[in-house]
């Protein structure tokens, strides 16, 4: 900078260029200052805006009581009228007040530019010294410097009071335990392995129902038939159901059995070309079912991780770090698709404790 020798007293200011300051330019008048007609016109303009604003406010109230919402909206040109009418009338009522006030300020209020002196942000030396003296005196009288035992024990005691604030948070929720390692798919029994049902339709699926190229969004049968699996119905109700869905959502895809490259130990995880994978992305947990039938590539709409369903759910693109967990499936004695067991690894996003073994 031009002059770097200033000390830190703060009052110093930058020096400016070669032309001497001509000073604040001479004030010139606006038409509204010198022409009474223009002044009257501006006055009328401003008050007309305020008047018009009042009209819009009244129209707002009228719209509020006129236009129906609920089951039978008042519709005009394919639009629900209420929202638009209320928004536009309120908006214009407010805008006109604003524009009116600004116009008033611009045309009619005094417009001499005035100058005000600045003062440095720092206090003057006298105040500084006074404050310093008061501080020193206060500290001296308290004896805090002379009695370190009191000071340190007080600091310790107050500092420790932070601990209850943190400890109190403990009961915000339970400890994770092993809950992330299990899903409701594992709650099928030997007699009744967990059936796979269509999401939203809730009917079980025969292997023969599906054609090559079908993609089915699925859920476990336990939501609708908990008693069949001896599951407490409260486990699949309300927010508990959401918790289950967040882990158990599944996609089935039937492809040409020749397309499938089964991973090690996964030879009999499929039924006639039908593969089952977790629907929960291994990246941050979005449900994924954007499948390309021709390539068997499954895309996540949130961050575009792409998984290969024909090849153990391996990541072919995007930020996900691990393949989609595959669910081993079979058919039960009635021919319906069932889960052989739970997922063999935790589903969904990674977490610190997760032990992942690359296959």
């Amino acid at each position: 900078m031009t002059d770097n020798t200033h000390d830190s007293t703060g009052g110093e200011l930058a020096e400016l260029g070669p032309i001497p300051d001509p000073g604040i330019p001479e004030h010139t008048w606006r038409p509204t200052d010198v022409d009474p007609k223009a002044e009257k016109r501006a006055e009328r303009q401003v008050s007309a805006m305020f008047g018009l604003s009042a009209v819009f406010t009244i129209l707002f109230v009228v719209s509020y009581f006129t236009f129906h919402i609920g089951e039978h909206w008042t519709v005009w040109l394919g639009h629900g009228v209420s929202t638009i009418a209320l928004g536009v009338t309120l908006g214009l009522a407010l805008l006109l007040i604003g524009v009116g006030i600004i116009q008033w300020a611009r045309k009619l209020m005094g417009d001499h530019e005035i100058s005000e002196l600045r003062h440095p942000a720092r206090s003057d030396d006298e105040s500084r010294e006074g404050t310093l003296a008061a501080l020193t005196q206060g500290l001296e009288e308290s004896g805090i410097a002379r009695r370190p035992l009191i000071r340190n024990s007080l600091l310790g005691a107050v500092g420790l009071l932070g601990v209850p604030a943190i400890v109190m948070l403990r009961d915000l929720g339970p400890l994770p335990g092993d809950s992330l390692y299990h899903t409701i798919w594992g709650m099928g029994t030997k007699k009744h392995p967990m059936r796979i049902v269509r999401d939203g339709i809730w009917s079980p699926i025969l292997a023969s129902d599906l054609e090559i190229g079908d993609l089915v969004n699925c859920q476990p049968d336990a939501y609708k038939n908990p008693q069949r699996y001896g599951i407490d119905p409260t486990l699949v109700e309300g927010t508990e159901l959401q918790v289950q869905k967040a882990k158990a959502s599944l996609i089935l895809s039937r492809m040409d059995p020749g397309d499938i490259k089964p991973g090690p130990g996964r030879k009999n995880w499929t039924v006639d070309g039908i593969v089952a994978y977790s629907k929960i992305c291994t990246h941050v947990g979005c449900p994924i079912s954007l499948n390309e039938r021709t390539t068997h590539h499954l895309l996540c709409p949130c961050h575009q991780s792409t998984f290969d369903l024909a090849n153990s759910g391996k990541v072919v693109f995007g930020p996900a770090g691990r393949p989609l967990p595959q669910l081993p499936i079979a058919v039960d004695d009635e021919g319906y698709l069932v889960a052989q067991s739970d997922f063999t690894e935790p589903v969904g996003p990674s977490f610190w404790e997760r032990n992942y073994v690359q296959r």
Binding site: T28, W29, R30, T83, G200, I201, L210, L290, E292, T295
Partner: protein
């Protein structure tokens, strides 16, 4: 049947009219013909079989001219020398696929590419059904769906409401992932896209679910039963007919277009106002009487 009904309607209104005699005569003849047709099935079958054969032949001619280059002379598909598919085999796609692909203008493609885009259909309805008949004759595959499969005609309002409600849930579970929450479409890997499906005819949506055009998965009847396909279509039609409650929908694309509007329209408008508020007002060379400027 429709013709018959209409003449019956006329009959009652013009009972005393001068042409009533003629109409009665005509009706008699039609009835006789109809009854004859109904009671001599063998003859009628061979008649319609011949018509069908003629239609298939017509379709084959069209196919040879417009489709065979990519799909092969007998619809067996064509591999390029590099081994990639120029046009897939059409032996088992069925009439529904043809009706969808040609009916929405996707086929014939302007040039080979990964994904055909919707455009003005190149064929008339009659030609499309000829083509469909020919392709259907090549093998198996779903036929063109019956209107009653996707139409809510004849259902009561409360039945339709229940259907729409069910359809919405199935739509959100199966369709929105690719086609977006209001059917505005979305991106797929490597330049592919799931097209916008709003405003597409019910029949074509049904056919698309049934046949899985391009890279779309199929939603066969074993996957989503016909009644539930109808529910999805009812939901989509409901979306089409629902007014926009909240103003302009900005393409129904979600937060990206909303953010754009916020920055460009909202902030642009306000910065414009700020410029006006701080701008210098007009000045005059006149001076105010008695004032020291």
């Amino acid at each position: 049947m429709r013709l018959l009904n209409r003449s019956a309607g006329r009959l009652s209104r013009y009972r005393r009219g001068p042409i009533a005699g003629f109409v009665v005569l005509l009706l008699g003849l039609l009835l006789t013909g109809g009854l004859y047709a109904a009671f001599s099935p063998a003859h009628a079958d061979s008649d319609s079989a011949a018509a069908k054969q003629a239609q298939i032949e017509k379709g084959r001619q069209l196919f040879l001219v417009s489709c065979a280059f990519c799909h092969g002379q007998n619809g067996q598909g064509v591999l390029t020398q590099g081994g990639s598919q120029l046009g897939p085999a059409l032996t088992d796609v069925g009439a529904a696929a043809v009706d969808f692909q040609v009916g929405t203008g996707r086929m014939p493609m302007t040039m080979p590419g990964p994904q055909a885009k919707e455009k003005q259909p190149s064929f008339s309805d009659q030609e499309i059904s000829d083509l469909a008949a020919y392709v259907a004759s090549l093998g198996t595959g779903p036929g063109i769906p019956d209107k009653q499969l996707y139409s809510t005609q004849g259902m009561s309002q409360s039945q339709i409401n229940a259907l729409v409600q069910r359809g919405g849930q199935i739509f959100l579970a199966n369709c929105t992932a690719c086609h977006n929450f209001e059917g505005s479409g979305g991106a797929m890997p490597r330049g592919g896209f799931a097209p916008r499906i709003r405003g597409v005819s019910s029949k074509h949506i049904y056919e698309a679910m049934l046949t899985g055009p391009q890279s779309m998965d199929t939603f066969s009847d074993g996957n989503i039963p016909p009644q539930d396909k109808k529910a999805v279509i009812a939901y989509l039609n409901n979306l089409n007919n629902t007014p926009s409650y909240s103003g302009l929908t900005l393409g129904g694309l979600g937060p990206v277009s909303e953010g754009l509007i916020g920055w460009v329209v909202g902030l642009g408008f306000l910065v414009g106002f700020a410029v006006w508020i701080a701008a210098h007002t007009t000045r005059t060379t006149k001076k105010k009487d008695g004032a020291s400027a």
